[in-house]
Amino acid sequence: MAGINIIKQVSKARNGLGLFILPCKQITITYCNFGGSSQGMRDFLRLKLTKFASQYPEVAFQVLDKPGFHPVIKGFYSNNQTKQICCRKLNADMIENKLKLIINSSGRKLTKPKQKVISLNKSVRGIWSPFHVDPSERYKI
């Protein structure tokens, strides 16, 4: 029977085309109240955190006291991945940079891209075909 069968699809996200939504949704900061490696983190929490966190209303900041451990910052992303960085012996400015790194990453695993361009769209030009060239200019064997 002649007719049309349908093939169902699910739309694919293109973040940034309509609206950019930050993939990082939560950051957990742990610190120790007396350890020497947490000195920079304690400075950051006391002096810089409020101003820094208010710049990113999309991200929930959670601060946990974890005595006896090195300070760690951990980012949670919307693709269910996490990324954590140990901030042992880092000063407040370096910690701020590490936080920016976590906020700016997509949460995807680090991989080396094989193609130069990765796109959901098909190539605009299509595959070159020798048969659509004018016959007078065609290569002859």
Binding site: A2, K8, Q9, S11, L19, P23, P57, E58, S78, F131
Partner: protein, 371 residues
């Protein structure tokens, strides 16, 4: 003698070609309209069951035309605006979706609460129904005015690809970062999480229970229980309804365009033609064009193991589409499919939706009688 027979032979061979080029001498049978077959399945975006709420279950406001203030009696509790502002995931969700300051945080809390068996808080059931209608309106008008010649089955599939359960579930989980409430009360108590925070996650009665890793038990199917994808999709629909309630129609349209219609679907790969040659000749007959003729444009390696043929599908003198393949039959069928797709996927250059201000009436194809 020999030359005469050769001439005769040519005449015999040429005659079928000449016949296909001219209009058919036999009058074609009139196309009969087959009665539309009733679909026995529904797409997920149409599946929202409209439940009738009886009079005793409703709190009717004094002014009966004040539709916004009708309430179900089952809502005994409601999260207040002050409480909702204490939930971090609600605050961040509000900021991530770039919702306006008019959009209340308590509406987001309500949108994340599905109808449950033992729940006294206001749920998102009616909001999700309204949001589903809003979404299907804006998506359908977008598809119809961009692709006015799509067959109805493909139009519905494309709508489902945008606003079906799985797509909206992907929007909620992987773009907006909504989480579901999975931890038990004991785990919440042990992690000393405030009780209020559970309202910041999606809560619904699950169809299934996870017995252990890799084993899922389908045991919990009740009236209120929901699929994973449906629950997340309903949250998105309810949030869209909230945008309409707080900010109005214009902002809702923009919201749907930036969060749903900006996603990628490929309509041309939704088609799968059965007997495309027949379909094309019927289509051309309906459009009162000459029947299709396929002509070879170029070829290479006919006697090798990897030949390529390029053919064109013509109606009269105009070429409808080209096709290429490793056999003549394959190239011919590809050219039919390309011609059909070229017709159905016609896209006007500056399309305007009916909800736009400068909308001019557009011609939507009436569809073919042979489906």
């Amino acid at each position: 003698m020999l030359g005469c027979s050769r001439r005769l032979f040519y005449r015999v061979r040429l005659s079928p070609i000449r016949r296909t080029l001219s209009t058919s001498p036999v009058k074609p049978n009139p196309l009969t309209v087959a009665p539309a077959r009733k679909r026995n399945f529904k797409f997920s975006y149409e599946r929202s069951s409209h439940t009738i709420v009886e009079e005793p279950e409703l709190k009717v406001p004094e002014n009966k035309l004040d539709f916004a203030n009708y309430q179900r009696n089952s809502y005994k509790l409601k999260i207040s605006e002050e409480d909702a502002k204490k939930i971090p995931s609600i605050l961040t969700l509000h900021a991530r979706l770039v919702l306006s300051s008019k959009y209340q945080y308590s509406t987001l809390v309500r949108a994340l609460t599905c109808q449950m068996k033992e729940n006294e808080y206001a749920d998102n059931k009616q909001m999700a129904l309204f949001g589903a209608n809003l979404l299907s309106f804006y998506v359908t008008e977008n598809l119809i005015s961009n692709y006015p010649r799509l067959p109805i089955s493909i139009l519905k599939t494309a709508t489902d690809a945008y606003i079906g359960d799985f797509s909206l579930c992907d929007v909620a989980q992987n773009s907006w970062g909504i989480e579901q409430d999975e931890t038990s009360n004991l785990e919440k108590y042990l992690s000393s999480e405030p009780k209020l925070f559970r309202f910041g996650r999606l809560r619904y009665d699950k169809h299934t229970t996870q017995v252990e890793k890799g084993i899922t038990k389908f045991d919990n199917v009740t009236v209120t229980s929901l699929d994973h994808a449906t629950a997340f999709a309903d949250a998105v629909r309810a949030i869209v309804a909230g945008v309409y309630a707080h900010d109005g129609e214009e902002i809702t349209k923009k919201f749907i365009q930036s969060h749903v219609l900006s996603r990628k679907i490929d309509i041309s790969s939704m088609f799968q033609f059965r007997e495309p040659g027949k379909l094309l000749s019927r289509l051309l007959r309906v459009k009162q064009m000459e029947p299709p003729t396929v002509r070879l444009i170029s070829e290479t390696g006919r006697l090798s193991n990897s030949p390529i043929f390029v053919v064109g599908c013509f109606s009269g003198d105009s070429m409808l589409a080209g096709g290429e393949g490793s056999s003549l039959k394959e190239a011919r069928i590809r050219s039919f499919v390309n011609a059909l797709k070229a017709f159905y996927l016609y896209k006007p250059l500056d399309s305007k939706m009916p909800s736009d201000d400068d909308f001019k009436p557009l011609f939507v194809d009436e569809g073919e009688p042979f489906y």
